[in-house]
Amino acid sequence: MRRSRRERRRERATLRALTSSALALLGAAGKASADTAIDHVESSYSFSTYSEDNLKSSKTIPNGERTRYEVSTQQASIAGPITDWLDVALQVTHEKMSGASPWYVTQDAAGAPIQFMSGATIQDTRNDLSLHANYYTDQGRLGFSGGYSTENDYSAINFGSDGELHFNEKNTTLSGGLGGSFDSINPTQADLYPTRPDHKSKQSYSGFVGLSQVIDRRSIIQGSFTYNLGAGYLSDPYKEVYQVGAPSQYGDFRPNRRHQFSFLVRYNRHIEETESTIHLSYQYYIDTWGISSHMGELAVYQNFGDSFQIAPLIRYYSQTKADFYVDYLRAGQTPPDNMSSDFRLSPYGALSLGAKAEYVFHTPWLRDIEWRTHASVERYLSSGDLSLKSVSVPSPGLVNFTVLSVGITAVF
């Protein structure tokens, strides 16, 4: 009796559905199963490219540099169990960055701001190593992580701890975490550019608490609050601020403290009739630099059978400007203590459209490894017109970009 793979997959899906429903039922009668460490060794590799659109010729000086950033990222990881209650994961990342970056904003003949790009093409690589460990108990999970990242002019070391605690027969989960990062910056060509410091450092500390509640077996709602404190040299050493009529540019000066607060609400609902899950989320963010933002996202995870999934996504974002954001200083204006022409601190709105596809297959002839493959694409567009509040003079440096990513995971 020949049997198609499709039939076999359907029946395995039936078994999984019955088993998970039975476990939910038997759990409801007083038995909750504990979290457990991952029980297989997983190894994965992914490659992605981040590519910014060229600057429009009207947004920069005539015949100026228009190419922007390209980043290619390779990531490999391996994770596996040490005991029934402990698992560890190791991840290495190698990134190559190239292209020109926004330097300062000047004005064109009509007085409109235009972006001046760094002339020389930057070439840099970043290497990152991180290690995670998770300890599991009947009531929850406790994780620890640490990492080290280095590039030509930058190095950072970070650590963190996070955990989850289950209540109410696992229908309610409280989560929380603490983390810190210690970064050291040694700008290149500091001898040529008086605005670039020799050596600076910055630190960031963050904490979050979250609560997730199972509403019924098809839907879950989650809320979380995150606080982040940035301290030290938070400016960008490669950016400058232009003043009309001044012989040279000023440096980028930002306050040396930044308190950031964000509130996230997420609602996931599974629709059995169509084998899909809807993810809705909203985030409100506010910081002590004067930026506040709204982010809304809708993603639909659509399953086709047991092994194929497509997830389209739409995300909207809008932020107000930082108090000290300026495009450029007017003639005769007294330079303020803090100022930056960085487009990321300007008022704007952004729209992202993306899709991700995942395909899972087995190779029974090769140790019955399960392979999970994915490919994704995201297109990001930002402009003053997309902002919730109208923006009279948007930053000329606002960016549009495309991210492509492919990856494969082997589960042994």
Partner: protein, 326 residues
């Protein structure tokens, strides 16, 4: 260590608990609690008792406001919903009104008109189920939990015994089984599966250490009229008893899942049922209407491989077990 055997009758079947413990004082109270649990579930989900939760639900049929159910019943309905969807509508807990026209004690085959009339009150897809409210929209519609509540009780009793310190034992509710744990020396329980046409003779012996085993057969609660065997398993699409498989047995970590799998296989019939059982990937055994035996349990006896932690050692598996449960 001593073995206590506790036979009792519940859910229309002979039941027996086999519990190992240091003393009677330790295991008797566990057996009493387990019996009380089974009888409590029977009382709660019996179609024949007016004071049961199920009867209360069935009395609400036709009322568009429906009825609000407790958390355990809601989870059972969620399970029934999952089984319905994943069986293409074959596993249907609304078959209660068919049970009224098919009375296997009477020896009478209902007329086509009676069956067609009863079918108008069958169909889980017509039920409105939004936890915790259930609406049976058609007057006379009846839920019947007979297809899975016994298996559910087996898992509940297993959990209760383990929670109360019993590490070695076997739960048997009318042939639906689950090992609480292997014998104290680590040997698995050896369970015989009956030949549907010669119930005194086992057609296979299966070792169980922690898993559940459920069997559906056309020999339980059936009637033979004019040489035709009518089994108690009714197809919710036609309203008539199924034919094709004489019996199906499945081993799964939970008895509930094993029982649902055997019921769906019986409903699918000989060919599709056999394919379904093979596709599940669970150890299984079946006999078709011509007496042919198939399934992964035919050749090897290592049925407990799906049960986490319940790996009987090789020596125990190949040795006959004199203290097996049957």
């Amino acid at each position: 260590m001593l073995l206590g055997r506790y036979p009792f009758r519940a859910m229309g079947s002979p039941c027996e608990l086999h519990l190992f413990g240091d003393s009677r004082e330790r295991i008797d109270p566990v057996a009493d609690a387990a019996k009380a649990l089974v009888l409590g579930l029977e009382r709660k989900y019996s179609r024949y008792r007016d004071d049961s939760v199920l009867s209360e639900i069935n009395r609400s049929a036709g009322d568009s406001a429906g009825v609000e159910v407790d958390a355990e019943t809601a989870s059972l309905l969620d399970y029934a919903d999952t089984a319905f969807r994943h069986s293409g509508g074959l596993f249907d807990v609304t078959s209660g009104s068919l049970r009224r026209v098919w009375n296997f004690e009477s020896g009478r085959v209902p007329s086509r008109a009676e069956v067609t009339e009863a079918l108008r009150r069958v169909g889980w897809s017509r039920v409105r189920w939004a936890r915790p409210r259930l609406v049976l929209p058609v007057p006379g519609m009846e839920l019947d939990f007979g297809g899975f509540v016994k298996e559910y009780a087996v898992d509940c009793v297993t959990d209760l015994c383990r929670a109360r310190g019993i590490a070695h034992g076997m739960v048997d509710l009318g042939g639906d089984l689950r090992a609480i744990g292997p014998h104290p020396d680590g040997r698995p329980w050896i369970v015989g599966i009956r030949d549907p046409r010669a119930p005194e003779r086992p057609m296979a012996s299966i070792p169980l250490a922690t898993a559940g085993l459920a069997t559906s057969g056309d020999y339980e609660r059936c009637m033979v009229v004019d040489g035709v065997r009518y089994t108690h398993i009714l197809d919710p699409r036609t309203g008539w008893p199924v034919s094709g498989l004489r019996s199906a047995s499945v081993v799964a970590p939970q008895c509930l899942v094993a029982g649902t799998a055997t019921t769906i296989a019986m409903l699918k019939g000989a060919r599709a049922g056999a394919r379904f059982l093979d596709g599940l990937g669970l150890p299984s055994l079946r006999m078709d209407s011509r007496g042919r035996i198939g399934g992964s349990l035919v050749s090897d006896g290592s049925s407990d491989r799906c049960a986490a932690g319940g790996r009987p050692d090789r020596a125990a598996r190949t040795r006959a077990c004199p203290t097996g449960s049957r």
